[in-house]
């Protein structure tokens, strides 16, 4: 047996408190957000706010649900995210299938450039897009926003889907061709069902990205806000409770889907994915 040295002793005693601290740190901001959204004003707007929820109230929630400020942005965000997702899958899935069947050198080059495209600063793209969309009368429209959100999500969806199609063996397809199925038939009947889980994951990530998206929405909106913009609007106006409540509403689907997708949360996906 070798003797236990100082560094090891230190890490053996400290790792549990450290892990505990990390756990607490992960939850606190979310707790505080929720707390502000359900606390009475006298508990928050004071020099010494309390840490526990002392006077629970649904007033802020009730007000926002009634105010009419929520539904239009919520609907817009939902619509844009859903259309973006559908369009991204329709455009990216066939392309990803083709890319996945290419010789590995070309495939690698395309996948890498798709990945790199997502790294360019959004303000640089959004500026030019915004100037262009002004000319095309696409400011404040759902279509314009969908087109902008596709900029981020097409490369991303294609990137995930190439990985999905790669895992489907080529032999299956060839067997179907031998059995007399046409190219289209084998694609629809053999490949697509096998790729469905991957497509679903990609679709959910795309939906989240679009639901969260802020920069393009900010550049392309004058009056018809999305949910993130509505949240930001109350932050700027200093509406503490409105901002907290809107932020919580914005966060709920994201948290749910993230937990649902947790087995896909790996280093690789993440670097491109869950930025928003």
């Amino acid at each position: 047996m070798r003797k236990i040295d100082f560094g090891e002793k230190l890490s053996n005693t400290l790792y549990l408190p450290f892990a505990f601290l990390a756990m607490v740190a992960m939850i606190i901001p979310v707790y505080i957000l929720f707390k502000v959204s359900v606390s009475s004003p006298q508990e928050i707007l004071t020099a010494h706010p309390s840490f526990l929820i002392r006077s629970f109230t649904f007033n802020h929630w009730r007000q926002i649900l009634r105010s009419g400020g929520l539904w239009a942005p919520l609907t817009k965000s939902f619509l844009v995210a859903t259309i973006t997702t559908a369009a991204a899958v329709v455009i990216a899935a066939p392309a990803a299938y083709v890319i996945a069947r290419m010789p590995s050198k070309i495939k690698y080059a395309i996948v890498l450039s798709l990945f790199l495209l997502r790294m360019f600063p959004e303000v640089a793209i959004a500026l030019s897009i915004s100037v262009q969309f002004l000319k095309w009368n696409l400011i404040d429209t759902n279509i314009g926003l969908v087109m902008a959100h596709l900029i981020l999500n097409l490369p991303f969806a294609a990137w995930i889907l190439v990985g999905t199609f790669e895992t489907i063996p080529k032999d299956l397809e060839e067997a179907a061709l031998v059995d007399g199925a046409g190219k289209v038939m084998s694609l629809l009947k053999i490949i697509m069902p096998l790729a469905m889980p991957g497509i679903a994951v990609a679709a959910m990530f795309v939906w989240l990205n679009s639901w969260n998206e802020f920069t393009y929405a900010l550049y392309l909106t004058m009056s018809k806000r999305t949910l993130p913009l509505q949240t930001y609007y109350y932050v700027v106006r200093g509406g503490w409770f409105d901002a907290a409540t809107y932020a919580t509403i914005l966060m709920i689907p994201v948290l749910l889907v993230t937990f649902f997708l947790q087995r896909y949360m790996k280093g690789g996906y993440l670097s491109g994915a869950v930025k928003g």
Partner: protein
């Protein structure tokens, strides 16, 4: 079948970027090529501080994230009760939109917020600290907010790297009588280098692009290049100087992307 994707990317990503770069060099009225926009923004105090803030923020948040992520990743490598819970809780910040994390942080760092309240109750401070007042404190605040949001992602990258290190290497180090620190310094760190560099480059790119977090937390007291560019376009309606500022950001990112490519290709050779 690949054509729609490529056309879309060419038309709506590459073309706008090139367009922005060209706009940065054009005169706002005549369209003649000039360096006037650059001269104008470089002359602005806000731009100088934006440039400084961007670099300072990237350095600070990267350092904090890497240290914290390394610590937690090493802890997660151990087997202990609650490990599964810690792993699931890592998903919480990742499931919170950046904008929302910014909103949550405003409640914590507000002058009558929860951080000041905690420090006051612990008798560390008497007068509340104005975290958003500018300078180093504000830099600290946004770096911390960014750290909360993205450390889990860095942890997962590092953890994947840690788990790929074979156990025999540690056994050998143990037989040689290496101390825990020596093992970390001479075994773990070198073997983890590819993961660390990858995380650094990817996070570096994101740190330079930081936008909504700055907008929510620091507003105009602490501009970064991206919020400066947005302000030029939106508040001052000067698309051309905004383009110039964006171009500078594009150049910085391009440098990082080149670094990333170098790392990826050197990883291939091994």
């Amino acid at each position: 079948m690949i054509a729609p994707l490529l056309l879309y990317i060419l038309g709506f990503t590459l073309y706008p970027i090139i367009n922005t770069v060209i706009m940065g060099f054009q005169d706002s009225v005549t369209g003649i090529f000039t360096l006037e926009n650059y001269r104008e923004i470089v002359g602005k105090v806000e731009f100088k501080s934006a440039l400084f803030n961007t670099v300072a923020f990237a350095l600070m948040s990267l350092t904090m994230e890497m240290v914290a992520a390394m610590g937690i990743a090493l802890v997660l490598k151990r087997k202990f009760r609650g490990r599964g819970l810690l792993r699931s809780l890592l998903l919480v910040p990742m499931g919170v939109p950046t904008l929302v994390s910014g909103v949550a942080m405003t409640y914590i760092f507000n002058i009558h917020g929860y951080l000041n309240e905690m420090l006051w109750r612990l008798h560390i401070i008497n007068i509340p600290v104005d975290w958003a007042g500018g300078g180093f404190k504000t830099l600290m605040m946004v770096s911390f907010a960014d750290m909360w949001k993205v450390t889990p992602m860095v942890i997962l990258i590092l953890l994947a790297g840690l788990e790929s290190i074979p156990g025999e290497v540690y056994e050998a180090a143990g037989i040689d009588g290496a101390t825990a620190w020596q093992t970390f310094r001479n075994v773990t760190l070198p073997l983890l280098k590819p993961s660390i560099t990858m995380a650094l480059v990817l996070r570096g790119i994101d740190a330079f692009r930081v936008f909504e977090l700055m907008l929510v937390l620091a507003g105009r007291t602490m501009p970064v290049i991206s919020t400066f560019a947005y302000d030029e376009y939106n508040t001052y309606s000067n698309a051309y100087s905004s383009a110039a500022a964006s171009t500078i950001l594009v150049v910085i990112i391009a440098v990082f992307i080149t670094a990333y490519l170098k790392i990826v290709s050197s990883g291939e050779e091994r």
